[in-house]
Symmetry: C2
Subunit: 214 residues, 2 copies
DNA sequence: ACTAGCATGTTACCTACGGTAACTGGAGTC
DNA sequence: GACTCCAGTTACCGTAGGTAACATGCTAGT
């Protein structure tokens, strides 16, 4: 069979593909999410059409690029979520893992969160996100699954878990985004505050003197 | 004084500006967030440079456009937040107001949430968001203020309120985004689920049979 | 009445981007 | 040695954001 020959070629192509992705990674890390195909090709020491042969279009490259980081982040989060500890500790560990990741590489984070920038010009409508659901959705679904698997939520648990999954992920994301921009407190404090919010301190807090509370 | 003359001119310019904004509004509503300056100018019956004279650059136009809807939405939210009812009811009303808004005009919503698409080509770095903080930040700060004003959170209340403000807004946004795409349940159910989450049902839920809970 | 200024509008152009067609050079294969 | 395949190139297209330079019309001052 000629599978060995095809495999040889494919292995070479795959290696090249990985090199290109690493170059793209460097450029995105340097130039932010708006990095151009030309810049990426130049960084890789080649020219545009090769990128297009490997990845189809910009969305394809970005999807491939995003997948690496997304997978890595999701693995970290899963580990924190599955650690042998009680619920609150695990929630805090998961929050901390996410925040540590976005803190360590803000450029990558910005790229992951806004992959669908610059809707393609010639296209009707916008079929962006044809590849690679945004990271937020993935994390939301993941968390929903964990919640549904582990918690007893009574009737309608599946729907409730999904709402919560996406809601908690959104909370984490927005708070992290804001925190990353302003750095108003330490990471540990932020984690604690968010966990407190999830633990119902909003409902438990007393009204301020002078009128009915929020 | 020549203030009256200047005022005359300025009033005329302001009216024109409003007309242009309304045209832009129509186009964005029709074409989504990727609407081009040419399309907007054509809809307004004029050509590009006029838009640039009025709004500086695309970011300026988008900022002006966003401000209208942002202000309107924030006013609705403030009203819901200030209604004479108890806390849980008010939270639910606020969530419902937001969700109703994004449900009524998804295109506007998509535009508001991703204003900084397509980083300008010639610019170094990315000074996008030079105008118009994203809507999420505004809502977060607003909510933080309300929380801090109304709730007694003990020491560190200001920081806690800001974290919660941004976190809750992010929760609302992400859940709303997901819900708008999949429509897995009614708006009322979504509101109830989110309020339950904020009310600590996550911490209160029992473990599922078969192991330690989430 | 004639001109100066000024805002409004236009056409024509620039640069940069995403994306593609068509050509080039070198490896292996019959 | 001719044939094919593949990586890679140059050169180009269409469209976008943005700008310069020119035209037009209103109001004001003399």
């Amino acid at each position: 069979m000629d599978t060995t020959q095809q495999t040889d070629q494919q292995r070479s192509a795959d290696r090249r593909r990985r090199e290109l992705l690493e170059a793209a990674d460097r450029v995105v890390l340097r130039d932010g999410p708006g990095a151009s195909m030309n810049a990426i090709a130049a960084e890789a020491g080649i020219t545009k059409p090769i990128l297009y042969r490997h990845f189809g279009d910009k969305g394809g490259l970005y999807a491939a690029l995003a997948k690496r980081h997304t997978d890595a982040l999701l693995n970290s989060l899963r580990a924190a979520l599955d650690a042998p500890a009680e619920r609150r500790e695990r929630v805090e560990a998961t929050l901390d893992t996410y925040l540590a990741a976005i803190e360590a590489r803000p450029q990558v984070y910005r790229f992951l969160m806004h992959p669908g920038d610059s809707v393609s010009p010639g296209d009707p409508g916008f079929d962006v996100r044809k590849h690679s659901l945004p990271l937020l959705r993935l994390m939301g679904e993941e968390l929903a699954q964990v919640i549904e698997d582990r918690l007893d939520l009574g009737p309608g648990s599946q729907q409730l878990a999904r709402v919560w999954g996406h809601g908690i992920v959104g909370m984490m994301h927005a708070a992290g985004d804001w925190w990353l921009g302003e750095r108003p407190c330490s990471r540990a404090e932020l984690v604690r505050s968010l966990a407190d919010l999830l633990w119902g301190r909003l409902a438990a807090a007393g009204d301020r003197v002078g009128g009915p509370g929020f």
